[in-house]
């Protein structure tokens, strides 16, 4: 039992990471109708920024994390303004090809700049141990992830729910035509949403590497996880994305612990089963 609770904790921590990495993707898909398969590349960038700043320039972990967010946001907006913008609401096949091309480029580019060998990843000493409380025993870093990520997630959900910016984003997800006719500058709104989504991806990447490691194939490895989260959660639904991230994180960790041979299959099995019943995801709106 104690075992199970601890594994559950690890699953939740993993789920939080997935949510940070996938949240922005869900919004861009729901809001801009843009399938950005290169979203994971931003997480990789965040990861490498943290590693670089810490290992090469001796920055502290908590100093490097914000830079990961900023770096990814800048890179994201740069690509959004120059390339992605032209493909909004366009042909999804083009989007898929375009962004998978970018994934290929970033994987090769990262190999070129940072090498194929996974770098050493450090976190502050106080996050390296474990925390005991009764039968509760969890890695400090995982606990930190749950708390920090949980706070961030709460901020996001509240921000979407209660700020006017959030209301605009929700409106844009619901009905683009109406948003435009309400006089909202949709171009700027998209850019901002993209920047925030990218920053979260970068931050998620920076936070993830201590647990899951980092190498240039990161965007490819996590592509399927991101897609599962977005598809199961329902595009554009933050709550759905959150629920799907946590469910996926828990299933993955629990599955790999108890039935290591079937770990990955369980996830696909569940995903496919959910999609058969609800093709638009758990929280997606039925019918278009």
């Amino acid at each position: 039992m104690a075992d199970f609770i601890n594994i559950l904790g690890a699953g939740v921590a993993y789920g939080v990471l997935l949510f940070l990495m996938a949240g922005g993707l869900s919004v861009t898909m729901g809001m801009m109708g843009f399938a950005n398969l290169a979203h994971g590349s931003l997480s990789m960038l965040g990861g490498y920024i943290v590693v670089m700043l810490m290992n090469w320039y001796g920055w502290p972990f908590f100093g490097a994390l914000p830079m990961a967010a900023i770096g990814a946001a800048v890179a994201g907006v740069l690509v959004e303004r120059t390339i992605f913008k032209r493909f909004y609401w366009g042909n999804q096949l083009d989007q898929v090809l375009l962004t998978i091309g970018i994934v290929t480029m970033t994987v090769a580019g990262a190999t070129f700049v940072w090498g194929a060998v996974p770098p050493a990843v450090h976190v502050p000493e106080f996050l390296e141990g474990r925390v005991h409380a009764g039968f509760f025993d969890i890695g400090s870093y995982r606990l930190f992830l749950i708390v920090f990520g949980g706070a961030l997630t709460a901020a996001m959900v509240l921000g979407l729910e209660f700020t006017s910016f959030g209301a605009k984003i929700r409106a844009a997800v619901d009905n683009r035509r109406m948003t435009v006719s309400c006089g909202i500058n949709i171009d700027r709104l998209f850019m901002l949403a993209f920047a925030i989504g990218s920053a979260l991806a970068g931050l998620g990447g920076g936070l993830a590497i201590y647990l899951v490691g980092l190498d240039p194939s990161f965007p490819v490895k996590y592509l399927v996880y991101l897609l599962v989260v977005v598809v199961v959660g329902g595009m554009g639904s933050i709550r759905g994305t959150l629920a799907a991230s946590l469910a996926l994180g828990i299933c993955d960790v629990v599955g790999k612990y108890y039935i290591p041979y079937l770990g990955a299959f369980i996830i696909y099995g569940i995903t496919v089963a959910i999609l058969m019943v609800r093709p638009n995801g758990l929280f997606g709106r039925g019918g278009h």
Partner: protein
């Protein structure tokens, strides 16, 4: 927009209407040129037959994806699964039971087609990104199975020990790849003809309809699920044949036949060649093989970067790949000559 009459005809008649469909199905010069050159390569490059054969097999694989992606507009990130299933079926058959190449080919097609038919029941119910995710998942699962089922597939070390018997009991596969080339060429050409027939059928037109506007299809009375399932199954069977051909001509299967990289590279080859016209798949496969060879000579670790860049550029400029560029260039030249 000013209404310009169709070239050469002031008004449409039943005759011009029928002629439109004859024209659509007619052999295009780039198709003829490709197949003539492919056949001629046997005599021109006798030292490179093995490589050419592999490029053509990749071509068949790309063509199988073209049916899904170029015609029906359904992307797949797991098409290597069916290529791999075909390869392992032929490989295991030849290792453990029966080494006749044609039997292996048919078995590869059947097993891959069956797998495709099963998967299609899931995929055809979904759309967009959910579809993409499921195909990606199918690819990863197949890779995992082959990787872990060591006793059957050889796992990471690849499958060895295939005993391919002579083709038709007479022609032994030689080290220069002559028999392998002729065998592959004939099989691929016949399947190309079949694929041509398919895309120029009412079913093929329905696939184009799905690509052009899937939302309109139900309003015409077409539910599209049957079409998608059939297209997926046929496409998987063709990919399976390609896999079986590769296994038989190289007599070895690397685990990478099932890899994600292969699923992506076949997409890239298709885009490079040009989608939705079949021959673009064959041309793209050749171009991709040559390009990879050249780029990895220059820079073995990072050649992927340039391939990705080419993909991005092709999508951004909307050139339609090699066949698109060829066609436009020739049309322009022809127009100039006319004037």
């Amino acid at each position: 927009m000013v209404a310009v009459p169709a070239p050469g005809s002031a008004a449409a008649t039943t005759q011009t209407a029928r002629a439109l469909f004859v024209r659509r199905a007619a052999w295009r010069w780039e198709e003829i040129a490709f197949w003539v050159l492919a056949a001629a390569s046997y005599f021109i490059f006798p030292g490179h037959l093995v490589l050419i054969t592999q490029a053509m097999i990749t071509g068949l694989f790309v063509v199988s994806l073209d049916l899904m992606f170029g015609y029906a507009g359904i992307p797949s990130f797991g098409h290597a699964a069916f290529f791999g299933i075909g390869a392992y079926t032929a490989g295991i058959l030849a290792r453990d039971w029966w080494g006749d190449p044609l039997v292996g080919l048919v078995a590869g097609a059947l097993v891959a087609g069956l797998a495709g038919a099963i998967c299609s029941q899931i995929v055809a119910r979904l759309h967009g990104i959910a579809m993409l995710m499921v195909t990606l998942g199918i690819g990863l699962i197949c890779y995992e199975i082959a990787n872990k089922w060591n006793s059957m597939t050889g796992g990471d070390d690849g499958l060895q020990g295939m005993q391919i018997t002579p083709l038709l009991g007479r022609f032994t596969f030689d080290i220069d790849g002559k028999v392998g080339f002729i065998y592959s060429f004939i099989v691929i050409f016949i399947l190309y003809l079949a694929a041509r027939r398919l895309v120029n059928s009412p079913f093929g037109l329905a696939l184009k309809g799905i690509r052009e506007n899937v939302r309109r299809m139900p309003a015409l009375g077409i539910g599209v699920r049957a079409q998608l399932a059939l297209a997926f199954t046929i496409s998987a069977a063709l990919a399976g044949v390609a896999g079986a051909l590769l296994a038989e001509t190289t007599q070895y299967i690397a685990l990478e036949v099932l890899g994600f990289d292969r699923s992506i590279s076949v997409q890239i080859a298709l885009v490079m060649g040009g989608m939705g016209n079949l021959i673009g798949g064959m041309i793209g496969a050749i171009a991709y093989t040559v390009l990879r060879d050249q780029l990895s000579l220059i820079n073995p670790a990072y050649w992927d970067f340039w391939v990705g860049l080419i993909l991005v550029v092709i999508v951004m400029t909307g050139t339609g790949g090699i066949t698109g560029i060829l066609r436009r260039t020739v049309d322009r030249v022809a127009a100039r000559i006319k004037r």
